[in-house]
Homo-oligomer: 343 residues x 2
Amino acid sequence: MYKKEITIYDIAAALNVSAATVSRALKDHPAISKKTRGKIREKALEMGYQTNALASSLRTSKSYTLGVIVPRLNSNFMSTVLAGMEKAASDAGYHLIIMQSFESEIKEKENAQLLFSHRVDGLMVSTTSTSPEPAHFKPFFAKNIPVVFFDRIPQKYNQYNCVTIDNREAAWQATRHLLDTGKTRVLHITGNTGIQVYKQRLEGYKAALSEANKPFDHQMVWETGLSVEDGEISAKRIMTMKPLPDAIFVANDTCAITIMHHLQKNGIKIPEQIEITGFNNDPFSEFSKPSLTTINYPGEEMGIKTVNLIIDKLNTKHIEPKGKQIVLKFGLLIRESTNQAAK
Amino acid sequence: MYKKEITIYDIAAALNVSAATVSRALKDHPAISKKTRGKIREKALEMGYQTNALASSLRTSKSYTLGVIVPRLNSNFMSTVLAGMEKAASDAGYHLIIMQSFESEIKEKENAQLLFSHRVDGLMVSTTSTSPEPAHFKPFFAKNIPVVFFDRIPQKYNQYNCVTIDNREAAWQATRHLLDTGKTRVLHITGNTGIQVYKQRLEGYKAALSEANKPFDHQMVWETGLSVEDGEISAKRIMTMKPLPDAIFVANDTCAITIMHHLQKNGIKIPEQIEITGFNNDPFSEFSKPSLTTINYPGEEMGIKTVNLIIDKLNTKHIEPKGKQIVLKFGLLIRESTNQAAK
DNA sequence: TTGTATGCGTTATCAG
DNA sequence: CTGATAACGCATACAA
């Protein structure tokens, strides 16, 4: 019933050569004569031979596969990163095994183990862990398998391979921009500050306040999940504040736009009464009314750079064991949701 | 310099048992006594053993890996589908290797071969091919590896495993809704109609026109890439039309919102002068001004159902060789970008 | 230029 | 309950 696999042995038998010759011919090994190479290729095609990458990987201990772990993959930012990764990997002859941790450290750990057991050649992770040094990457380090952290990195792993932007600086600019127009009650809606990116954005927010001699009020920092639902809840909560904040720095666009929408429904004028800045530059941030001031986060570039860093490491593993930190440029995009005035 | 892999032989040696026993113990084979099982587990942990999935797959010819090919993964719709897939796969003990075809049939073919050589247990594809029966899936069929087409399916593959929505009906409803408010010049902006989904949406559009006794004008159907850029170009082109269309049915939200935005910039009132409907129900479609009437396309459900269909097939391969067609429910979401009137 | 022999790490078969 | 052994499909060191 089941068809047996067609192997190099089958085509060797059909051609009265050895399996070794077939193996070499199929890889265009120069030691094999053009003629036999041609014959073998042809026969392989004819017999519908398909190389078994598993066997090959086992033999060579090289899988040409990279593992990716992300918190979730259905955000515009993350899918853009992954698109860049897949492209760069594919161009270099690698494939991606992608897993989601769903913001669970346990799941992240399982994923890491799974990817290890699949003998990925490299690992890329945007961590969900709030541990300073999550232990589940140790096996990779021990075996000298390159690991690159992107976007979200564990707190004590700054000296490892990282591809990030300067979140503190970005948040500082966003907050500073709000303050420059004379605003005084700036609310900051962010994610879990146990996660570095949000912690750093909070620091940037604080720094901007302090620089402008505004007092920091921890009641003006809300940790949420930054989802659409969280935006709705936050908007409701904002409407109960008195006085209302006169500016909001939200740590992602999804949430920012949701909040803006609901505030407007409640009759709030944006940006006259409340200015808003987001983070990420999601495609629709430009098309909201008013368009959203935000931080341009170069997702595709991040994906490409992350993969390229891995591949660099793979090609020079013995030479350069040290971590490399890549910090990408971001941009503050000033749009209508804030008053362009100031400065 | 390099550490040797730790294998079941190492732990067997350390414990004075055979490798076979270790292998069985690690899989909780009931034939092994609780005591030895425990000892082996412990030792494995202590020695930092990590199973080699490659070797295991080679031996068992089961990889617990599913391949996915999509045109691109950085659209809200696709990343939602993939999120659903990854979740469902992970829940069933499978992993995903994801590849992009970038709307190239050649790349799609390469991807299929690659995934085949990686011995995926199943393949899920949203095809980019305009061939009626793309040949590159044949090896999977021949080897009885389940293939499920989702979203976009090749023209002659309706009898294979498919997970879709009724695009014709959806387009019909969208167009019909526009016509119901008395509009007469309905422009249809869509994708490559060599691809089934767009062809079907076009059919739905035509059917609605004909039903309303409106003539079909092929000049009122524009094939584009449906990207933001295409939206900008289309908007410009619309502004040169006289008379202007009084309604537009756009085949995705990204493009619809871009067009809406640019028309508004040119002083067009939406929906008074031009009504617009989109397709997909991207998250921000609700937050545009006016909010966008669109088709709710259940992406996550599609991902989950697709994976579940594959897994069903894997569990009953011999019993049910026939294709199964799953048609998901969609919904027409009427919002402010169209006049709610009519009927 | 080609062939022989062996091993990658695991699992399954067959004995004991 | 446990062990010896072969096999999965490929690639490479060594020989010819």
